[in-house]
């Protein structure tokens, strides 16, 4: 490939258009089947009984009453559950099982966290199982748990690595401490936030079916069928081809469904034990303790700058809570290291073990909280120098990636600032904080930079074109509910030159060509590139047939001289010479023709190897020639009722540069979805964990507040046109996470501008805002 795929943008093309969801009708009519909606013959229902205590030992379990209850088929505990081939309770085991947590419940009598499963009841109906689960009597020897890193007994330590071993726990670039010590401007601030939970609409759910003693099919609520398969292969000991994972529809994930968690494995074991398919769906309360969360944390950022506001030093430290077995912390420092042109940088992590479930990646892991600290501190710097917040960012604009020294593959940040400011009316902003009133309300405007990496990944797709003008295109990706079905159908239709309704895109099955996890904002770029490449493969095969077919007008032409447009193969130099694929296939007696494609990170249309197979080495972020990121800016207006402490977001603008946008409507939905996610995190979301019991006190959606419509104003979203020739064949960067990066800071900066008060302890609930006013 040597040029950007162009034909999409031509009249009549589908890519980029605001097409409505191809699966929308299925969903609103209830036909779309989620993972707990497969009524297999002989289906049984599993319900977990969980531990009330957060630490201690099971002394005895009495399952007699539960087992006697109507409809109960089995009551499984650590005493009778079939053994696993491998468990994640050692570093090697964890690696082999690809499990997000280094512990498997129902393997011993030890209790490590509240909500830990202690029994799994299987019954003929869900109701019977729910009731019987309440009859499982467990005697515990409780011990006093540690709830978080603030506990006096908690021991802070420096982990060697964070983010599941993906990022170094200590990072240095230049001598940041010395630079800070001599900086004319020195700012130090601490930012804290509570535990957040992903809370997708659809809780974790599994339907496990052993079709034969050595063959397993699992309908799973997961962001990645292959990753789930990997875990199940390791834990069951089955060969990979004997484990099939299917996810047709997903009701959101936000990262918590990016891994295979214990309840899935337990359901698989239960199905084995009872010899019938078992379906298990977590309750909302169980969701809070079963699939991870964003950890409670405190981060301190030291920022050194010259008198005119140029950064000289950034030093970041973070303290957070982790589980008894894992060393998980989001890598907040990554974005701080690269967002601006800062010559020195240092970051280190501290964590303490507590009796909690392992935390995990949650939408923009690291980037979301890291950008909160950095972008608030940048706002402080602007205020300190009396410089406009956009101007301070322009003064520190990074023209390359300072964290690696690599050039950017593309960066449209300056355009995002300019366009965002224009759409928002930034020029009307009063340079002084706390000065703008509208009746009772203090009005403030804030902004923040957003950025998210294009993560390394690769995937495959298969395109099958039928001679009758239909096509089926497949890739084992998942659609989180964000539009993967739709955008891939668009790409497939354009690539094959077919009307949208003649193309069916299939996903969510390990029997299909392997695709990466839909996480880290990689699905859109990788899968669309795979689809595009698969279509190209179809055409190459047809061209080969044509040039060897005596009856074809293209007979004896050189394949490289032939091109394809809207299904017609013709000579580049003499477009009149050619024919449609249908005629060609008819003569060749082909009902259909299949192509395979591999979409790869770093294999953009300028790099020359977009069409080449993936090789080792050129598929990792550090090996790439370019640093690849999306950039953008969020703008926020708030109205603050200082007397009652109420903050209302009254205006929102997000402008993003994220490569090619595949569907204007689903892309807008991603951005507003992420922004609302971020607004929730800054204004209201918090999971409360009781300090004595280490157990959540608001594990339901009545008391864990996420934004409702009334919290959200009209939102304006724009994408700047950006052509990135390096990232992947389609030039698509992905937008699932950048949408929330910087959001918390944009709101907090607006609150600062409205009130003159800098609030750094999230969420900004009424009492914090009101009391900030009292203190003055």
């Amino acid at each position: 490939m040597s040029s950007e795929p162009q034909f999409f943008d031509q009249p009549g093309g589908f890519v980029g258009k605001p097409l409505v969801r191809v699966e929308g009708r299925e969903k609103v009519t209830g036909k779309a089947k989620y993972s707990a909606e497969f009524p297999l013959p002989g289906l049984t229902y599993g319900v977990l009984a969980t531990s009330p205590i957060a630490k201690g030992k099971i002394q005895s379990i009495d399952t007699t009453a539960a087992a006697k209850e109507l409809g109960v088929i089995a009551v499984l505990t650590h005493q009778n559950l079939p053994k696993l081939a491998k468990t994640p309770d050692s570093p090697e085991g964890k690696k082999a099982t690809s499990a997000p947590m280094g512990f498997m419940p129902l393997t011993s009598d030890e209790i490590f966290y509240a909500g830990q499963p202690v029994a799994l009841v299987v019954a003929d109906t869900l109701d019977h199982a729910i009731y019987a689960a309440t009859l499982v009597k467990v005697n515990y020897a409780p011990e006093s748990p540690i709830a978080n890193f603030h506990d006096a007994r908690a021991k802070l330590f420096n982990p060697a690595q964070v983010q599941d071993g993906k990022v170094d726990g200590h990072k240095r670039r230049g001598d940041a401490k010395t630079a800070f010590a001599s900086a004319p401007i020195q700012l130090t601030a601490t930012y804290t936030h509570p535990i957040y939970h992903h809370n997708p609409m659809e809780p974790g759910s599994t339907t496990a079916h052993w079709e034969a003693p050595d063959r397993l099919t699992v309908y799973e609520s997961t962001q990645g069928v292959t990753r789930t398969q990997t875990t199940l292969v390791a834990m069951t000991g089955l060969p990979r081809e004997q484990v099939r994972v299917i996810t047709k529809y997903l009701g959101g994930g936000f990262g918590c469904k990016g891994s295979c968690w214990p309840h899935t494995v337990l359901t698989v074991q239960a199905a084995k034990a009872v010899g019938r398919p078992v379906q298990l769906m977590l309750t909302r309360k169980q969701q809070f303790t079963s699939m991870g969360h964003r950890e409670d944390q405190s981060q301190t950022l030291q920022l050194g700058a010259t008198a005119d506001g140029k950064l000289t030093s950034l030093i970041h430290t973070k303290q957070s809570t982790t589980s008894p077995w894992d060393e998980y912390a989001e890598s907040n420092s990554k974005i701080i290291n690269l967002l601006y042109a800062c010559p020195t940088f240092e970051a280190s992590y501290e964590m303490a073990r507590a009796n909690v479930m392992t935390s995990t990646f949650m939408r923009a892991p690291g980037e979301a909280p890291g950008s909160f600290a950095l972008e608030c501190s940048m706002d402080d710097l602007a205020a300190r120098l009396g410089v406009d917040p956009i101007e301070i960012r322009l003064r520190n604009h990074a023209d390359h990636d300072y964290s690696t020294g690599q050039p950017w593959s593309s960066k449209s940040l300056k355009q995002c600032y300019a366009r965002g400011a224009e759409l928002f009316g930034w020029s009307k902003r009063n340079p002084k904080a706390g000065q703008t009133r509208d009746g009772r309300y203090l009005v403030g405007m804030g902004m923040a930079t957003a950025s998210y990496p294009v993560h390394s990944s690769q995937g495959t797709a298969r395109a099958r074109l039928y001679a009758d003008g239909h096509a089926v295109v497949q890739s084992g990706a998942t659609d989180l509910g964000t539009g993967t079905y739709t955008v891939m159908t668009q790409v497939a239709a354009d690539s094959l030159g077919l009307p949208i309704e003649k193309v069916r895109f299939e996903l969510g099955d390990t029997n299909l060509p392997t695709a990466p996890n839909s996480g880290g904002s990689i699905a859109a770029g990788t899968v669309s590139s795979s689809v595009f490449m698969a279509a190209q493969d179809v055409w190459q095969r047809l061209i080969k047939i044509a040039v060897g077919d005596k009856k074809s007008p293209l007979y004896k032409a050189k394949p490289e001289d032939v091109t394809v447009e809207k299904g017609r193969l013709f000579l580049k130099k003499d477009p009149k010479k050619g024919e449609g694929y249908a005629d060609l296939m008819k003569r060749a007696d082909l009902t259909d023709i299949e192509g395979m494609g591999r979409g790869r990170y770093g294999a953009g249309y300028e790099t020359g190897h977009a069409a080449s197979p993936a090789g080792p080495g050129n598929n990792t972020e550090s090996a790439a020639e370019h640093s690849m990121h999306s950039f953008g800016a969020h703008f926020c207006e708030v109205r603050v009722d200082m007397d009652l402490g109420i903050i209302r977001v009254s205006k929102w603008v997000s402008v993003m540069g994220a490569g090619r946008i595949l569907n204007a409507q689903t892309a807008r939905s991603q951005i507003i979805g992420g922004a609302i996610f971020g607004i929730g995190s800054v204004l209201m979301e918090a999971t409360e964990r009781d300090a004595k019991y280490s157990r959540y006190t608001n594990a339901d959606l009545a008391n864990y507040h996420v934004p409702v419509n009334a919290d959200i104003p009209n939102m304006t979203v724009e994408f700047v046109e950006e052509h990135d020739p390096y990232i992947n064949a389609m030039g698509v960067k992905g937008i699932g996470e950048i949408s929330m990066v910087g959001v918390a800071a944009a709101v907090a900066n607006a609150v600062y501008h409205a009130t003159g008060k800098r609030l750094r302890d999230l969420p900004l609930t009424p009492e914090k805002v009101m009391m900030a006013g009292v203190a003055s």
Binding site: I130, E688, R695, T697, P707, P766, M771
Partner: protein
């Protein structure tokens, strides 16, 4: 959730009789509160007696006041023109409650008997004196941000969660109760609820089998000029952190009568007569409101995380009074 039997009552008498004779029976109206409690194993009932066929309906306004049948839905009452016009505080408190879906289902009677949102009460894994008498109260020095600063005891500081009740106690509403014998009694709402003291599990005066059949609210000038203000963690669909129901009768700039009650701060809906007294006879100004509001929290006994309610409660009263005085 346990297994239970279900029956539909054809008359109030039948409903009351069945329920009186079985201490594990419970009435069910909208079920929005009860089913939640049963699913969380907080309450276990062997029999549910459905009240929905009973004719405990009607929203009637007369010279003496308003009468609302106990089975009227929150949404119907909240949007009823008579209520909107003559008792705005009731309408506003209802429409600021829960969500449209819940309000369409939930009954007025059920609303009065909803139970606290204290997170320890709502999770059977915790001790809780209200749920299991004598087991303890982890909220005292736990997560008590949303709990009460008024009317609490060392046994319990759970907040009464209803918005409607705040408006109703402010306007001196009365309940009509009916028992298995068909006898009715009228109880002022303010007397209906019990402070937790040492027995937080006993929340009200209702006797076994006794039904709420109607709510009556006396007509008054301060009812027509009334307002409900709710401060919460998000713009809609959240319980009150603090709320205020106020009514004012102002003539020639002077306050003739006033009604003030607070939500989110008390273990029961919390009327503040001292504030009302301090308002009467004074000019309807912010200064008056401020001075009076201070009296609302004189007896407050906050815990670690709910101290802010002392300040927020006063401000909420002042703002609500400013709204009606405007």
């Amino acid at each position: 959730m346990n297994n239970f039997a279900y029956t539909q009552a054809a008359s109030t008498k039948e409903a009351a009789t069945v329920t009186q004779s079985d201490k594990h029976a419970a009435f069910i109206s909208g079920g929005t509160s009860l089913i939640d409690l049963m699913k969380s194993n907080i309450e276990q009932h062997s029999l549910l007696v459905d009240l929905n066929k009973l004719s405990l309906l009607g929203v009637e306004n007369s010279a003496t006041g308003l009468r609302i049948g106990a089975l009227e839905r929150m949404s119907d009452v909240g949007e009823h023109p008579l209520v909107v016009q003559n008792y705005p505080v009731i309408s506003q408190s209802l429409l600021a409650s829960a969500s449209p879906q819940l309000r369409n289902m939930a009954s007025m009677g059920g609303n009065l008997l909803q139970r606290t949102r204290c997170g320890y009460f709502r999770d059977v894994a915790f001790p809780c004196n209200k749920r299991v008498p004598g087991s303890g109260c982890p909220a005292q020095d736990g997560d008590n941000r949303t709990l009460a600063i008024l009317g609490g005891s060392t046994s319990c500081i759970a907040t009464h969660a209803s918005d409607l009740c705040v408006a109703l106690v402010a306007l001196e509403a009365k309940l009509t109760l009916e028992n298995a014998k068909g006898a009715t009694r009228i109880v002022p709402l303010a007397d209906f609820y019990k402070l937790p003291g040492k027995t937080p599990h006993i929340e009200n005066q209702l006797q076994p089998g006794e039904l709420i059949t109607a709510i009556t609210i006396p007509a008054a000038a301060h009812a027509r000029k009334s307002h409900y203000l709710k401060v919460r963690d998000r713009a809609s669909y959240a319980y009150a952190l603090v709320s205020a129901a106020v009514g004012l009768d102002v003539q020639g700039g002077t306050i003739r009568s006033a009604r003030v009650a607070l939500g989110g701060v008390g273990t029961v809906p919390w009327r503040v007569p001292a504030v009302e007294k301090a308002l009467v006879g004074k000019p309807a100004t912010e200064d008056t409101f401020r001075a009076a509001a201070a009296l609302a929290v004189r007896d407050a006994s906050p815990r670690e995380h709910n101290k802010f309610k002392i300040e927020l409660a006063q401000r909420t009263i002042v703002r609500a009074l400013l709204e009606v005085a405007a």
